[in-house]
Symmetry: C2
Subunit: 220 residues, 2 copies
DNA sequence: CGTTGTTGTTTGTGATCACAGACTACAGAC
DNA sequence: GTCTGTAGTCTGTGATCACAAACAACAACG
């Protein structure tokens, strides 16, 4: 148990969270090899819970099984673009549902998150988390665990590539402006405007990610 | 090994397919309990591959983990309706992509499937498979493994409840008529018409499933 | 020098064992 | 009669061992 303690719930679930986090934060790069032993040793557990975690990650599409090797899933440009399109449709559906059900308390919460987001352009990791919270908090209002689950699944698929995107601070400012516009549409209950803004927001993000992806040849 | 042989690939994957099939065909009812031992004994394997299969099924949302028990996921009416909406958005996206890329060979294949579908209104199980093939064959043309994967995930979530729907032969005939209309739109490359027909098709199906669901109180 | 056969190591897979937590049921006390 | 405490069993979890397939390195042969 050198790297860190693992305590409650189930080891398998904890390993899942850890490895998933390593992948989505870019700590484990797409295409990189994974072995049961290395993860098990790093986390100080046996290989059994690691295997369970890998199965979950496999179903999430975050890892790929080869004949005898497990690797972090690597996406082509075409796949990333597809995933952003899928994400757009799902988020538009969530926006549609959420805008009908959202309360003023929800609006206040979201505005608070937005303020924090503005204040966090300096802190990469914090901004990333808050960005997630902002979107999640709004889509939570759609009141569909399944839709949220699907959105988060797509999200985590492209997240490893977002880490690259998130390295530039200019992107943060641009995104914050767009977030603020989206928020105004939410507050005004203007679904049409929100759908357009969401589409725009994702297009811009996708374009950034893809351009970064083209710059450094993927290791797949 | 009383029930059947398990041979190639990996036991875990095979168990996954078997249990998944049992769930989606309605052989294992929503809400029903699952135990590692019972499945392991039934398939003549140890519990290890069953655990891996359960993890996959968990990520698919087909089984739920309780404190100490595993059960087949049971959906509320609201959840079923949500899932059909999600499915609609995804299938509309797939239709949009597919209609641009579909070739005349694809069209011929699909028409063939449609003919077989017409001839299979008597055979419940065969019709179910062909229905899947029909939709899948078209959405394959969208050329996005991810989108197809998501569609199939939603599909398998609601499939246990489709088994009930599929018990009535009238539904088959109505569905076949709708399939034929959708096919004509595909052949004519008429996206707008196809989107409307798809929406209608899913609405009708959803309504049938929900009405059946309301009739017999779910055992969750 | 290139190719092929062989050996040794690595790695995922499946089975088995030990364990802890939770549900069941039976028995005793009020 | 009802409630409660306790023993027993069931079930998922984690660790460990045995195994087979595949990749890598090296040596032998053409």
């Amino acid at each position: 148990m050198q790297s860190g303690h693992i305590e409650v719930t189930s080891l398998g679930r904890e390993v899942y969270r850890r490895v998933r986090s390593m992948i989505t934060t870019g700590q484990l790069r797409p295409g990189g090899p994974l072995t049961l032993r290395s993860i098990a040793d790093e986390l100080g557990v046996s290989t059994t819970p690691v295997r369970e975690a890998f199965r979950l990650l496999q179903a999430d599409g975050l890892v790929q099984y080869g004949r005898r090797s497990v690797t972090v899933t690597s996406l082509s440009v075409h796949e990333v673009e597809s995933l952003f399109q899928i994400r757009l449709r799902l988020e538009q559906l969530a926006a549609q549902w959420a805008i009908d059900k959202i309360t003023s308390a929800d609006v206040a919460d979201i505005e608070d998150l937005l303020d924090q987001l503005d204040a966090s352009v300096q802190d990469q990791e914090r901004w990333r988390i808050l960005n997630q919270d902002f979107h999640r908090r709004f889509y939570d209002c759609a009141d569909s665990v399944h839709l949220l689950e699907y959105i988060e699944k797509v999200w985590s698929s492209v997240e490893p590539y977002m880490a690259i995107y998130a390295s530039s601070m200019e992107n943060f400012h641009a995104a914050n402006v767009e977030h603020r516009q989206m928020f105004e549409a939410i507050r005004a209950r203007d679904l049409e405007a929100l759908l357009v803004l969401t589409a725009h927001h994702l297009e811009v993000t996708a374009a950034q990610v893809v351009s970064q992806l083209l710059r450094e040849p993927s290791d797949s």
